[in-house]
């Protein structure tokens, strides 16, 4: 289980915002925790998949996509802030993510 430091938190936040800024051709200054991924940025599940792959590589994560999918059904992500929190949980718990609901 990885320990989430303040540094990791900042790194993930920066990466998520930079990713959506590039993908959605938005200014990073316009993307905040409350920004809606679908309504404000026109994001979609392929972007989500791509972002997960980015973090899997960067943090060498052992997690199956379907584990994230099952978790996301119970904990839907709508905003950038929620997505950052989910990415941190993924980094922290990897394939044990679903155990959080037990």
């Amino acid at each position: 289980m990885a320990k989430i430091t303040e540094n990791t938190r900042n790194e993930v936040r920066e990466a998520v915002i930079a990713f959506f800024a590039e993908e959605c051709e938005a200014d990073t200054s316009q993307i905040h925790d409350h920004t809606s991924i679908i309504k404000d940025l026109d994001g979609d599940s392929l972007m989500f998949l791509e972002l997960i792959e980015v973090f899997k590589k960067r943090y060498n994560l052992d997690i199956e996509l379907k584990t994230i999918g099952k978790y996301a059904v119970k904990h839907p992500v709508q905003t950038i802030g929620q997505l950052i929190e989910m990415q941190l949980l993924i980094i922290e718990h990897e394939n044990r993510l679903l155990e959080l609901d037990k």
Binding site: L46, E53, L65
Partner: protein, 301 residues
């Protein structure tokens, strides 16, 4: 970018005009209108009332296919008039007809004829049965086969976009059951594609036989710009292979992932989608060593 080897990719169906780059290209509307008028005259179908916002014709599979064809041919025409020289074309699914036209293999009207005859043959062979297709993201091929096996769903993987993105075809009932079960199994996305034809499955073999006569009696030339097969990733450079591809494309699964890999391996540096969206672009990001995938109007800069 002008020094890169460029390939033009043609989508099958337009699903969205929200990011339509043609709005910023002064030459596009005139060329699009010219092709649209030709298409309307040839097909005798009302296409002239098309409007990307008020009448996008997205719910009519045949008209959508005609408009997608017109749109793709128009993009390619604008690009080539501006000096862009593609070295390869690719037709994603039913995008093959616009790819053939742009490659110089068929006339604009012959492309329309193939669309029309293929659609008629398909409708004839599917009469009375409801079919559909869906896209699923976030599951592996094994996950998909496990779900289909567990719930006895007769589905075909019609296309692989990436190792976690697939297109499935089958009866609409089985497709709908699969969508529900896929979500339960952790798919990030599983949704009907809104088509009623199981393209790229053996169910359409009888339609391909009907289409054969039209295709093999039509005027088809060797492509001046090679066309890559999405069925087996071979480069098509002669008329006979182009004809075979049109017929086989109807009922054979394709592999967009393998096609992109082959394109990049063969030296393509830039792929551009001749359509109003970039729906095909994101999948290429999962390919190691992939080149750039840019909006078609970016090549005009």
């Amino acid at each position: 970018m002008a020094e890169d080897n460029i390939a033009l990719v043609f989508p099958a169906f337009i699903s969205d005009y929200r990011d339509d780059p043609s709005l910023s290209v002064p030459a596009f509307p005139e060329i699009f209108r010219e092709y649209l008028e030709k298409a309307a005259a040839f097909t005798q179908v009302d296409l002239l009332s098309f409007h990307p916002q008020t009448n996008p014709m997205l719910d009519d599979e045949l008209r959508n296919q005609y408009i997608t064809y017109v749109y793709g041919c128009s993009c390619a025409e604008v690009l080539m008039r501006s000096g862009v020289r593609p070295v390869m074309t690719a037709g994603y699914s039913m995008g093959i007809y616009a790819a053939l036209f742009t490659s110089g293999s068929v006339s604009f009207e012959t492309g329309l004829l193939f669309i029309q005859k293929a659609y008629e043959a398909i409708r004839k062979c599917l009469s009375g049965v409801h079919y559909g297709m869906c896209g699923v993201i976030g599951l592996t091929e094994k996950d998909i086969r496990d779900i289909a096996g567990q719930y006895k769903l007769n589905l075909v993987i019609a296309n692989r976009n990436s190792d976690h993105s697939f297109t499935l075809a089958g009866s609409s009932f089985h497709i709908n059951v699969f969508i529900v079960k896929a979500h339960e199994e952790g798919a990030l996305h599983a949704r009907s594609l809104g088509v009623t034809i199981p393209y790229h499955t053996n169910l359409l073999a009888p339609a391909a036989r009907d289409l054969y006569e039209t295709v093999f009696s039509a005027d088809v030339h060797s492509p001046e710009i090679p066309l890559i097969s999405l069925l087996n990733q071979e480069l098509i450079t002669d008329a006979e292979r182009a004809r075979e591809e049109v017929v086989n494309n109807i009922f054979t699964p394709f592999n967009w992932l393998a096609t992109q890999k082959q394109m990049f391996l063969s030296g393509i540096g830039v792929l551009t989608e001749c359509g109003p969206s970039l729906s095909l672009r994101r999948n290429s990001k999962f390919i190691p060593g992939a080149g750039k995938f840019v909006p078609w109007n970016a090549l005009l800069d």
